[in-house]
């Protein structure tokens, strides 16, 4: 009785999340994943026992594969929504592809782990660490470049503002007395006053 109620509730909630994800604009990924997970748990309640019965290494690989697919989905969605530039996403997608490859095809990783003397999990941790260091370095470079741009822009604004204030301080000549127009960049107006 009680498990049936739980399953029905979870399934209804999962469907609701999926509908919300399809209709909504922001946060679609999170809702979609949550809805799929709820629906899956409702349809197949034995998943926890089944997962527990797997050998430990298979579980680790499964978790890594799911995590890397999630990272890829989030990245591609962020690029699609124009919130992330491709150049920054490349490192992330590269990392998740590597980890996914390691989770699905184990052969080449065995050779690598033998060569480096590391276990599968250690290799994954090492890969993640190296990529995070690369991402952090890329950010440092970008921050320096942005700082330089910000300096140039601030300087330009200050100089232009000073020039503008200097112009503003000069009294505007009276047009009827034949003075030159205050705004220089309006030759069209002075040539064709009737237009």
């Amino acid at each position: 009785m009680t498990p049936t109620v739980w399953r029905t509730g979870a399934a209804a909630l999962g469907v609701a999340f999926l509908v919300w994800a399809a209709a909504g604009r922001r946060g679609r990924i999170a809702r979609g994943i949550l809805g799929t997970a709820l629906l899956g748990a409702a349809v197949y309640p034995g998943w926890a026992e089944r997962l527990a019965s797997l050998p430990p290494m298979a579980r680790v690989r499964l978790v890594m594969a799911v995590a890397s697919v999630l990272v890829m989905i989030v990245n591609i969605e962020a690029i699609r929504a124009a919130r992330l530039r491709e150049r920054y996403a490349l490192l992330w997608i590269g990392t998740s592809l590597f980890i996914l490859g390691g989770a699905v095809f184990t052969g080449w990783l065995d050779g690598l782990s033998a060569a480096l003397g590391m276990q599968y999990v250690s290799i994954i941790v090492a890969v993640i660490f190296v990529f995070l260091v690369l991402v952090a370095f890329q950010f440092s470079v970008e921050i320096s470049r942005l700082n330089e741009d910000r300096t140039r822009l601030a300087q330009r604004i200050a100089l232009l503002q000073a020039r503008w204030e200097e112009k503003k301080a000069v009294p505007r000549p009276n047009p009827s007395s034949g003075g030159t127009p205050f705004i220089e960049s309006s030759p069209a107006e002075t040539k064709h006053p009737t237009e």
Binding site: R152, A158, L159
Partner: protein, 260 residues
Amino acid sequence: MNEAGLPLMVLIPAFNEAEGLGKLIGRVRAALPGARVVVVNDGSTDATAAVARAAGAVVLDLPCNLGVGGAVQTGFQYAVEEGFDEVVRLDGDGQHPPEEVVKLLARRRETGADLVIGIRFGDGVSFEGPPVRRLGIRALAVFLSVICRTRVSDPTSGFWLVGGPLLRLFAREYPGEYPEPEAIALLRRQGFTLAEASVRFEPRRYGVSTIQGWGTIYYVLKVGLALFVERLRPMDNGLSKAALLRTSAAETTPGREACR
């Protein structure tokens, strides 16, 4: 002389210096009549800009705080655009008496140097403080003198007279944080010359030193690394003294290359 007939520009970078700035500008105008006083307001949160305008200075109002390097460079860009040939840089805290500027000008006439640094009369060092700090900055001075192949007694002094094509180099390229030692190394690499003039300094009246306590260690390490890396950096041959003397100011107007 620029086209307006003004021989000299006085550049005062200011960050929250409203307290003493009005009086300082008054002293500059009394000591150097005819000079244009330009205050670079480095994103102050007090009335610095208003005080400077009220005292009759041109104010370059930076929309955000860039640090002293970015602020001073803005002043050099203004000087190049306005056609000034000589710029005196004074600290906004009243350490550098405007009455002593004539000594810098005299020294430049005498030596023809592109940069004249005002150093404290006596020991030549413009800082006070504990022995560790003096030692650190002395070490830096020795290192800088060696790599510049000329005597640099006080790399921390900001009492500068800059003239000629060096203004155009600085308008294009000027280091950021604690810029003076790096700027000296940069100008030497590009073939410019420098001289020193003994002047009377005044005790700091307003604000606090940017280099104190643990900051000294950071300062020496940061500047040391910057000076070392500066040697490894490829030189922009278009900014050498010879190249800048060949080209006109219009060809090197700053800001055109913003956001390269």
